[in-house]
Each structure stands twice: as structure tokens, then as C-alpha cells.
């Protein structure tokens, strides 16, 4: 009711005017009828009615909500004052927008990725379970689970938890059909109750039943929504149709909803199809305790806790490891909530980024506060006069707060736009991140944005408002006639703000410096081979069509021959997994000539298959002995080459050539024929001892082809793919990339973090420099009279320059010292994000100090120089 009146008061006023006009007319008519002359009639009517303006005003007031009207007036006044200094307004709004935008964006990410519950039924009861090796302190506490262990666990957890296993690192070749290209997809084997444990149902058709999950069952597959949409153009009849995976027909029984995602710390978010594990995996894999192929998820039934379940399973696992003692059998169990499992890897870096944006926001607030303080100082006399004329302090305070609120709101609005842009960019850049698809604005984010805006307004408004004291009216009024030190006291507050600002900037700079250095180290890490102009692509031969090892080897050899004859190819080779492209499998080994080590303590070697030409193609140096011979294939493939670190591990101080190494899990013995240089399996991980076996034989059905060219190796990607297509039109290739791209891909995390923090640090540095400049420039104008007198009395200009410069740099120095101390404490938190870089890296700290001082000196130089150039006559005359 009130609101309607309030909003329609102009209309009410217009109507009232009409009513009054009528009233007057009627009154005049009456007066005329009584016999008055028209002029007199008119006069009498007006006299009788009284002041029409007053009546209108009364109605207007009656229709007005006082509070709103007052605040609206305040806003209008604020807008006018801000519009009068557009430069200041623009800078302040931009600064706020940067601070608020960065925070909103990061907070949205943190909330969506780290804090929001998973999109499953009762997600807080879902946990991920892992095996764990008590004896090995250095190994990760979260190791995948062996099929045998899972079977034992599931048996013992009956009535306590519902347990499912999944192997999300499987792949299938999808055959070319209906004019579509063949392709290789990421897939997962899962136990039939995987989906029901998560509490999700298929969008079409059904998920697996226990009957599908048997070795002898019909082959069935559940598709992801995106795969169904992309490859089968959302075919509504897909359920019941057959598709060809690895040259075998599978019946599609269901399609998952588009909202369904599964990811773990071991990946899984790229899975496009799900098959039943007991149908897919060989029987031995389901019973072994040595081969760790599965991830385990469990839904805790009411009354069970994670700790309870883990301790129960630990007992089972301990017994199993004793019963089946063998290398690679783990003796313990660990677990964590599924949410933690998915996002653990991003926690530190996201929180570090959030802290960085928090610093930026704080700096932005400090800067705006400092700008407002400067304005207050400039408007000091106006304030003093208003106070003297009876302007209430509250009124003046409100005005100040309104002003800063206007700035923050404008900044917040602009910041939201920035945040939207930043999020779109982030989702595009980091689609490798788990749960990145869950990022969205929601109510809590909106509330936080509003809270941030209000806090900024309050913070910057109050700081500036507290600097005007009513008691100083007289002083302020007098200040005009005499340069006094009241202005300097106010500058003191700004100096304090500056010290804070500079120290926060230093923390950001140090963080950025460390991350950058770590990223640089990572980029420069030697993979062990020259990375330029090397192309890799992966393919795997389906077992159905290439049943016999002979067929596989024949394909490998034929392919290599044809690739080598391609124009532009300098060398080509085949390897099971190229350097920098992942773990690729490992085995426990023992040296036949040595006394066998105690059980479970055999050395672990990474296993690779390679063709004889691989080492020359990728340029791994052969240090001793020779590479494989062409005849060492198929059943004669029991020879091996080991890397330098493997030689040091197995044969310290001995010549490894001619010795024999035994594969503990397969029992095969290889004669060592050569010694080669080390390579890294992942750019961020230390070198791991490696053993190479001939790829021709040893049951390798998948391979990565490595092509080296003199220049522009990219141009070879298509011809090689075409070649493979000619040889087998159903065979898809995957991971077509150069070695350099491989490195880029594995350093994207580090690059992302370091670039973002650096950006924040640069923003902070610019803001701090602007703040320094502002304070000193203000001081110089305040003290121009004093400086004038000094110069007039014979002070050297150089001396003045030094005095002013020192005046400006002092807060920067203080801030630097504080900031360095704070960084030393803060960087401990990001230790896990650093690669081969110490948190207290002296180079970074020195560089940051130098940069900061240089920037501070530059910011102070101009005002200081201006002070020293002051014309004393003019300075004295201006006041």
C-alpha cells in the first residue's frame, strides 16, 4: 500500500492540482454568484483556500516513506559527488571490480568443486577404499585394489556396507559402422552393483544386473549420455541394439543421464561406456592379490563409520596378505570420502588461489579506502563548514558510507561480469579437472557476492570516515591559513594502509615467484630424450582379430616399415608407452645370479616393450652393449635392456651385460644385452628404473608409434593416420600428439596456478604502486608551503628530493619486511604445489624485494622530483 503510494506520488500530485483547480473554479463561481466582481471573486477564493503549494507539499509528504526518500537523496548526492571526479570513480570501481570479480570466480569454483555434495543419492555415505602398504613409507597411501582383495572385502562387509568395484582405465576400439570412423574410447569395467551403490539409474533402458556380470553372460554395455549423443546422434532406439567394441558385438542395455559423472583421483571422468567386470576381466584378475586393477567404492549402511569399515577390512586384508604372501600383495587398507577422493588433488591449489584473490580484494579495499581518505582530506574544509553549520556527524558518516557503497556496488556489478567471463574461461581451460562441469553460480555465491560488496563498502567507508573528527573543525578551518601537521596525521593513516598493502603484495609476489620457478623447473625437466619434432600416437590391436602374437608382430613390422618410408620421416619406432606419457606398468624382479632378496622386498622395475629401432628413433643413448636384434622376437624375445638407474639398483658396481633378470610375477627370465639412458615416465616425477623387452613378442598388443622428423613433424600426423587406416580401417588411433605437447599437457596444472597467481601479484603490485604514488603526491601538495620555505631558506634541491623519496619509500620498506616474514610462514601451505623448489628459495625472495623496491622508488620518484622542483615564490604565494 505504502509502496504504491510512494511510487505514484507524482501522479497523486498531478491529480491534486486538478482537484484544487476545480475547487477554485467552483468557489469563484459561487463568489461571482454572490455578486462579487471576477477579480475579487478570484482573490477571495485564494484567500479562503490558503497556500495551494503547501497543500501539495503536505500530500507529497504524506505519501513519502521518509527513510527511502532520505537514502535516495543520499544516493543522488553521492552519485553527484562521484560524478564530479570521474577519474577517481573509475579507478576505484575498477579496483573493486577486480578484487570482487576474482573472489567471486574463485569462490564459485571452490564451492562447486570442493564443497558441494556429489550428485548421488546420500553422497555423504559414499567412500572410496584403497589398499595400502604399511612397510613402504614413501608410497602413496591410496593404491588401487586387487580383484582378490575386493572379493574378500565384499564378503566381510556384508550388512555393513554395499561395495562395488570399478576399473576406469579401460579402453575399447569402437568399430567403423554406418559410415562413422573407428574410434578409441575410454571405458570402465564395473561390477553390476556399481550404479546402484552410487544410487543412480539409467536415463534409458537399465543398468547391469547380477546376471549380466558373469563370465558366460551376453556382452552388454551401458553408454554415457555424451557418447550416445555424439556417436549415435541421440538414437531413441539405441537400447537393445548391438555395437562393436574391440570387434565383438555388445548389446546396449542402457544410457546414463547427462548429469551422471564419475571421477576419482585416478580419473574416470572421460569414461564413455561401462561394461560388466566379470564378463570382461580374465578370471585370474578377479582372484589375484597381486594385480591391482580396481577402484572400490562403498556405501556405508546406517550405523557404520568409515573408520569402522576400514579397520574391519584391514583385518581381512592382513590375513589375506599373510595367506597369499607374494610380491605386490599389500597388507593394509585406507579409505576416504568419495568427495575427498575426487578433489584432493585440487584442494591445495584452489585454496591457495582463493587466498591470493582474498589478498587482492583486501588490497583493493585498502586502495579504495586510501583514495577515499585522500578525497576526505581534499574536502576537509567543506566538511568543517558543514559541521560548523550543524551538519550531524551521523549524516556526514552516512554520506561517506553511501559513497563507498556506491563504489562497491558498481565494482561488484562489474566484478560479477568479470567473474562470469573468468569462469567460462576456466571451464574451457581446465576440462581436465574433476567436477569442473559442476561449476555454476548459486544462491550462496550470490549471498557471498553481496556480503563481499557490503564488507568492502563498510571497510573502505569506515576507514575514511574515521579520519574526520568533529573536534578538529577549528583546526581544519585554520589549516587553510597555515600549513599545519593535521594533514600529515591523516597521511599517517594512509601510510599504515600502505604498509599493509605492500606486505600483502609481497606475499603474493613471493607465492607467484615460487610457483613460476617451480613451473620453469618443470618445463625444463629433462625427459631423457630430445623432445622437439617427435610425434607419438597410440593404437591397440583388438584381440579378436589379432589372436596370435605372430599376427600382432606382423602388423607392427609392416606398419613400421611403411611409416619409415614416408617422406619426411627421419626415424620411427614402436614402444609400449612413450616417455612422459604415463606409468605403463611395472613388475617385481630379481637377479638370477644374486642371492634372492627376502620376500616382498624385490626391486620394482618399470616394464616397456620396444622395437629394435625405437632407441635410435627417440634418441635414448645406448650406453653399453647393444639394442635388440631383428631375430629376437616372439619366442626368442627373452632379452632385455635396462636403464642406467635400473643398473645402479640391480647391479651396483657390476657390469650388467650378460646377467639375467627374473620377472617375479610371470617367472620369465631375460638376458640383459644393453644399457640405455634414463627417461621419465612423468615430467613431474623422479626417474624410475626401467627394463625394456622386445615389443615383438611378450604379448604386447598395444603400441605407441614414435616418429622423428627434421622439421614440422605435425605434418606427418595425417599421413601416418591414413597409413594405419589403409592397413586396418577399423583400427582407431588415440593420443596423437608431439612430445612437446605431452610436456605441456602434464604441466598445465603448474602453468595455470603460476600464471594466475602471477596475474594477481602484478595487479597487487600496480595497486600498491598507485597507492604509494598517491600518498606521496598528497604529502607533497600538503607540504608545498613548508618545502617552499625550506628551499627559500637555502635547502638544496637534491636534499629535498632525498627527503621526500625516503618519506615515500619508508612505508614500502616496512611493508617489505612484514611481507617477507608473512610469506615465509604462508608458503609452507603451498609446499605440495612446488616442484624441486624450496619454499624459502633465496633467489625468489631477493628478486621480489628488488622488484618491489624498484617499483616503489619509481612510484615515489615523480612526486619527490616535483617537490624538489618547486618554485619557492609560487609555493609561498599559493596559500
Amino acid at each position: 500500500m505504502n509502496w504504491r503510494r510512494f511510487l505514484q506520488r507524482s501522479r497523486a500530485d498531478a491529480e491534486l492540482v486538478e482537484e484544487i483547480d476545480l475547487h477554485m473554479a467552483e468557489e469563484m463561481d459561487e463568489n461571482v454568484a454572490r455578486g462579487m466582481p471576477p477579480d475579487e471573486a478570484r482573490r477571495c477564493a485564494y484567500v479562503k483556500f490558503g497556500n495551494t503549494q503547501q497543500v501539495r507539499e503536505r500530500l507529497w509528504q504524506q505519501n513519502t516513506l521518509a527513510l527511502i526518500d532520505n537514502s535516495w537523496r543520499g544516493v543522488k548526492y553521492g552519485l553527484r559527488t562521484l560524478a564530479r571526479s570521474p577519474g577517481f570513480t573509475m579507478v576505484a570501481v575498477l579496483v573493486m571490480a577486480l578484487g570482487i570479480g576474482a573472489n567471486v570466480a574463485l569462490f564459485t569454483v571452490v564451492r562447486s568443486v570442493l564443497l558441494n555434495p556429489l550428485p548421488y543419492h546420500q553422497p555423504d555415505r559414499l567412500v572410496s577404499l584403497y589398499e595400502h602398504e604399511n612397510a613402504e613409507r614413501n608410497s602413496s597411501p591410496y593404491l588401487p585394489v586387487a580383484g582378490g582383495s575386493f572379493a574378500e572385502w565384499q564378503r566381510s562387509a556384508q550388512g555393513v556396507a554395499q561395495m562395488a568395484q570399478v576399473s576406469p582405465w579401460q579402453q575399447y576400439n569402437v568399430s567403423a559402422e554406418g559410415g562413422k570412423l573407428p574410434e578409441k574410447i575410454d571405458a570402465a569395467w564395473c561390477s553390476w552393483n556399481f550404479f546402484s551403490t552410487l544410487g543412480v539409474a539409467a536415463a534409458r533402458g537399465r543398468t547391469f544386473t547380477a546376471d549380466d556380470d558373469r563370465a558366460g553372460a551376453d556382452a552388454t554395455v551401458v553408454l554415457s549420455a555424451s557418447f550416445w549423443r555424439r556417436r549415435y546422434s541421440s538414437d531413441p532406439e539405441i537400447v537393445g541394439k548391438k555395437i562393436w567394441l574391440d570387434a565383438t558385438p555388445y548389446t546396449v542395455i542402457g544410457v546414463m543421464p547427462a548429469s551422471f559423472v564419475y571421477s576419482s583421483s585416478f580419473g574416470g571422468s572421460t569414461v564413455q561406456a561401462w561394461t560388466a567386470v566379470n564378463h570382461e576381466a580374465p578370471a585370474w584378475m578377479m582372484h589375484t592379490f597381486q594385480d591391482h586393477e580396481f577402484l572400490v567404492i562403498a556405501r556405508l549402511l546406517p550405523g557404520t563409520s568409515l573408520a569402522g569399515l576400514v579397520s574391519r577390512l584391514a583385518t581381512v586384508q592382513k590375513k589375506a596378505s599373510a595367506d597369499h604372501a607374494a610380491p605386490g600383495v599389500h597388507d593394509s587398507v585406507t579409505g576416504r570420502s568419495m568427495l575427498d577422493d575426487m578433489v584432493e588433488g585440487y584442494k591445495t591449489s584452489l585454496y591457495a588461489l582463493l587466498a591470493a584473490t582474498g589478498c587482492v580484494l583486501l588490497i583493493a579495499c585498502l586502495n579504495v579506502a586510501s583514495l577515499l581518505v585522500a578525497r576526505t582530506a581534499a574536502r576537509n574544509k567543506e566538511m568543517a563548514i558543514r559541521t560548523a553549520l550543524g551538519g550531524g556527524r551521523l549524516r556526514l558518516l552516512c554520506e561517506r558510507l553511501t559513497e563507498s557503497l556506491l563504489l562497491s556496488v558498481a565494482g561488484g556489478a562489474l566484478g560479477l561480469l568479470l567473474a562470469c567471463g573468468a569462469l567460462t574461461w576456466l571451464v574451457r581451460m581446465r576440462h581436465d579437472m574433476n567436477r569442473v562441469e559442476a561449476i555454476h553460480f548459486d544462491g550462496v555465491v550470490a549471498i557471498c557476492t553481496v556480503a563481499a560488496v557490503l564488507l568492502c563498502a563498510l571497510f573502505s567507508g569506515l576507514i575514511s570516515a574515521t579520519t574526520t573528527g568533529g573536534s578538529e573543525i577549528l583546526v581544519s578551518l585554520q589549516e587553510s591559513s597555515r600549513a599545519s601537521s593535521a594533514g600529515r596525521a591523516r597521511a599517517g593513516l594512509r601510510r599504515l594502509l600502505l604498509v599493509l598493502e605492500v606486505s600483502l603484495t609481497v606475499v603474493l609476489l613471493v607465492g607467484a615467484g615460487l610457483l613460476l620457478k617451480s613451473y620453469q623447473k618443470l618445463r625444463n625437466t629433462d625427459l631423457g630424450v630430445p623432445v622437439d619434432n617427435v610425434l607419438t600416437m597410440h593404437f591397440s590391436l583388438p584381440a579378436i582379430r589379432y589372436k596370435e602374437p605372430v599376427q600382432q608382430v606382423a602388423f607392427f613390422e609392416r606398419l613400421l616399415q611403411r611409416v619409415r618410408s614416408l617422406p619426411g620421416t627421419e626415424a620411427a619406432g614402436l614402444v609400449s608407452t612413450a616417455p612422459g606419457q604415463g606409468w605403463g606398468g611395472d613388475n617385481m624382479v630379481s637377479v638370477v645370479e644374486h642371492t634372492p632378496p627376502p620376500k616382498g622386498q624385490e626391486p620394482d622395475l618399470m616394464f616397456r616393450g620396444a622395437d629394435p629401432g625405437y632407441f635410435r628413433a627417440i634418441q635414448i643413448p645406448v650406453l653399453r652393449g647393444r639394442t635388440f636384434r631383428a631375430v629376437e622376437r616372439l619366442e626368442r624375445a627373452h632379452v632385455a635392456m635396462i636403464s642406467q638407474s635400473a643398473a645402479q639398483l640391480l647391479f651396483p658396481g657390476e657390469d650388467p651385460i650378460g646377467r639375467h633378470v627374473k620377472n617375479s610375477s610371470l617367472g620369465e627370465v631375460y638376458e640383459i644385452v644393453g644399457l640405455v639412458g634414463d627417461t621419465r615416465w612423468s615430467i613431474a616425477q623422479p626417474v624410475f628404473p626401467t627394463l625394456y623387452r622386445p615389443l615383438y613378442g611378450n604379448n604386447y598388443s598395444a603400441a605407441t608409434i614414435v616418429v622423428r622428423s627434421r622439421r614440422n613433424v605435425d605434418t606427418l600426423a595425417l599421413p601416418v593416420q591414413k597409413l594405419i587406416g589403409e592397413m586396418d580401417p577399423d583400427l582407431p588411433v588415440s593420443n596423437v600428439m608431439t612430445l612437446r605437447e605431452t610436456i605441456g599437457k602434464s604441466t598445465v596444472d603448474a602453468q595455470f596456478d603460476s600464471v594466475l597467481v602471477l596475474a594477481f601479484a602484478v595487479i597487487a603490485l600496480v595497486l600498491a604502486a598507485a597507492g604509494l604514488y598517491g600518498v606521496l603526491a598528497y604529502l607533497v601538495t600538503q607540504r608545498s608551503r613548508e618545502i617552499g620555505i625550506r628551499i627559500a631558506l637555502g635547502a638544496q634541491r637534491r636534499q629535498m628530493l632525498r627527503v621526500m623519496l625516503l618519506d615515500g619509500i619508508r612505508p614500502a620498506l616496512l611493508g617489505l619486511v612484514l611481507g617477507l616474514g608473512a610469506s615465509a610462514a604462508a608458503v609452507r601451505q603451498i609446499r605440495s604445489m612446488l616442484y624441486e623448489t624450496q619454499p624459502l628459495d633465496p633467489v625468489v625472495y631477493v628478486a621480489v624485494s628488488a622488484t618491489l623496491l624498484l617499483v616503489a622508488a619509481c612510484a615515489c620518484l615523480l612526486p619527490a622530483w616535483r617537490a624538489s622542483r618547486l618554485d619557492p615564490m609560487q609555493a609561498l604565494r599559493t596559500e
Binding site: M1, R5, A12, E15, L16, E18, E19, I20, L22, H23, A25, E26, E27, D29, K48, F49, G50, N51, Q54, V55, R58, L59, Q62, N63
Partner: protein, 136 residues
Amino acid sequence: MVYSYSHRSSIGAASLSRSNPSNAEMLKGTLDMMVLRTLVTGDAHGHTIAKVIERTSEEVLEVEQGSLYPALHRLEDRGWLSSYWGISENNRKARFYRLTAAGKRQLVHQTSRWRQMARAIALVMGEETPSAKGNK
């Protein structure tokens, strides 16, 4: 008494509000009441309402016209009156006010309160009660 019985006295909020707010409240109330009462006989515009009050009080009460219009708007806001634009008897566009059902209830309520009050004051002043006067 509330009104000064000089030749013509004015009723309205503005004239007395400064000195005694409670009076003002009461006066406002009486003006409202009289406006409502006037409209019982039929719809009317502001000028008519003022005239009717003056005439029926035998020219004793003079409506301060400045308070009349804000009062009319206020009554309309409270839902006791509704208004519409029509043509006055002198062929002018005029805003007519009409008593609503709520307004009628309010009038009954206010009238009874007024009677009580007037009687009480009269008793204190040792005068004849208005009701007795009315019966004469």
C-alpha cells in the same frame, strides 16, 4: 471544547498540531468523521464536501480547505473512500468521492466514539448532554 465557538472557527490539523498533538489527532479524526458523514447522502467532490460541512454546521465550522484534500487522499488510502473522475454540476471535470463499505463501518464506529466523548465532556462541564440537546 474542541472548537472555539467564535464566529467562524477552522478545523484542521495544521492550525493546532504544533501546540498539542493529541488535539491534532482528535481533530483529524473529527474532520475524517465529518467527511465520511457528508458522503452518506451521496458521492461528492471536494468543494461540495467543504460546502456541505460548512452549511450543515450553520456556518460555524469552516473547513480549512488545505487539510481537506490531504484528508480525502488519506481516507482513500485507508480504503474508506473510493474515487472516480466525473463531471461536476457546473460541467467541470471533477474527482468524486464515494463511501465504501469499510468507510460506512468506520463512520458508525467513529460516530459512537464521538457521542461517548461529547457526552463525557458535556457531563464534566455541567452542560446538557448533546443527546439531550438532540432530543429537544
